[in-house]
């Protein structure tokens, strides 16, 4: 890829970079935020002996593509 724009990714900017071609048509700042968001979550989670809720939160948020209506809420047992 001869023509690239580096996208540093703090806080692990020393580790991972994403390069795209110069003529790319999408919003680079948005892309950087997406990659930052993922890269800050790759470590070890904290300690507790209860439920981890991230999956349920996504599950609850997904909308049926055929009807565009929210799916039945599943898993929110707080």
């Amino acid at each position: 890829m001869p023509s690239i724009d580096p996208q540093p990714l703090p806080p692990r900017g020393d580790r991972v970079r994403v390069y795209v071609t110069r003529e790319v048509a999408f919003d680079l700042q948005k892309m950087t935020r997406v990659t930052q968001s993922i890269l800050t979550k790759v470590g070890c989670g904290g300690c507790h002996s209860g439920r981890f809720l991230e999956f349920q939160m996504i599950e609850d948020y997904v909308i049926n593509p055929k009807t565009l209506e929210p799916q039945e809420v599943v898993g929110a047992q707080l």
């Binding site: 390069y19 795209v20 990659t35 993922i38 507790h48 565009l68 799916q71």
Partner: protein, 477 residues
Amino acid sequence: MRELGVGLVYWSDLAPLFEDVELVGVLELEPQTLWEKVVGPHGLCYRGNDALLQRVAQLPQAKLLHGVAQPVGGSADDPLEYIALWKRAVEVLDPAWVSEHLSFNRVRRGAHIEEAGFLLPPRQSPAGVANAVRNIERLSQALERPLAFETGVNYLQRRADELDDGTFFGAVAERAHCGILLDLHNLWCNERNGRQRVSEVLARLPLDQVWEIHLAGGMELDGFWLDAHSGLVPPEVVDLAAGIIPLLPNLGALIFEILPEHLPRIGVDAVHRQLDVLHALWRLRSSRRVVARDARAPQGLESCGLGNAEQHDDVEAWETALGEALRGRTVRDARFADLRDDPGVAVLHQLIGDARRSSLARVLRYTTTLLLIHLGPNEVRALLDAYFREQAPDPFTALEADYFARFLRSRAELVEHLPYLAETLAFEDALVRATVYGTATDLAWSTDPTALFAELENGRAPVGLPSVHSAMRVCAE
């Protein structure tokens, strides 16, 4: 033990609270939350984030270290070297003592050691005591710091072939000459879920060895009360703390545990008020020395026969059996075959599944969302269950995500037929692989990835997105 005061487990989301040193006098760090698991010259290894560690060190509070990944209750040690990173954290933060869980989280399977995916209750037997004492002495010596073990939560039913909770904790503390991190919410969970009463547990502890108390809130699941760190401390647990604190002559810290994801629901002000309650509890400390060491701690241990204390296979057999029960395999050891009928096993199975699904949702967020949109929750859960049966868990989310990405790629019919799944998975896994393995990946997009992710952020199927072809390289530096 040095008196440090009232404190809070550190999360960057709670940073505003750490600005007030009168409110939060102690910062407790779970060191492994600053670690990654990556591939180095000799295979997998841990890598610490020294910059973040230094940033934590700059905060004005006294520091404590509380381990969450190398518990002292098991027979299978972490196969990866971890002492150097622990020692680095000790060197930078200079804690008066360190703590770890009296649990196990790894199971030996043939020549391999598998992660269990959760902190699990240890074998409460004379052999279990001896095993824990060895681990505590070894870790404390390696770190050159006094070590306290945490009294753990246990969702299993009481067993006739085990020491009661208080006797087990007391015997470990007495024999290891270590500290006790008295987690009152854990003990209260245990009592609510059918195990020993908190008062009976406390009666069997050498109270002068309690250096630290943890207080937390929880939630209910299928009739069980969970130690979820999801809310404020229940009034009953506050009452327990008020009753025991005056009897603890060497109490050094009183720590509130809450996970940052619950903060928006609870609010920073409520956490502030909770810490005020902890300060009121802290003032209940007795100024006089209490003679708390008495002959109560070893009760029951002698009756089980100290001669059994070296039966290492008793501990390993328990860990293997519980591991088998939790993975849905046949429990081969007849002594523990009844584990399959223990309702606590079903709860642990659910919690481990939740943790694994959440790890994947955290790192492979867009892949997970796409799967849910296209397949629906039931089919996705079935897919994840198939993956869980095939692959042991890993507490480091990047590794778990990479293993699942491999699993998905092996199902080409799925990846190739669901719109945008192949490129979304390739992108998220490329970030993971750059982090873990240091590998570079070239990607091709057929649409604007930010438009694709915006649709997924809204929980919507990406339909009618413009065709925009671009190339991307994700690489490690």
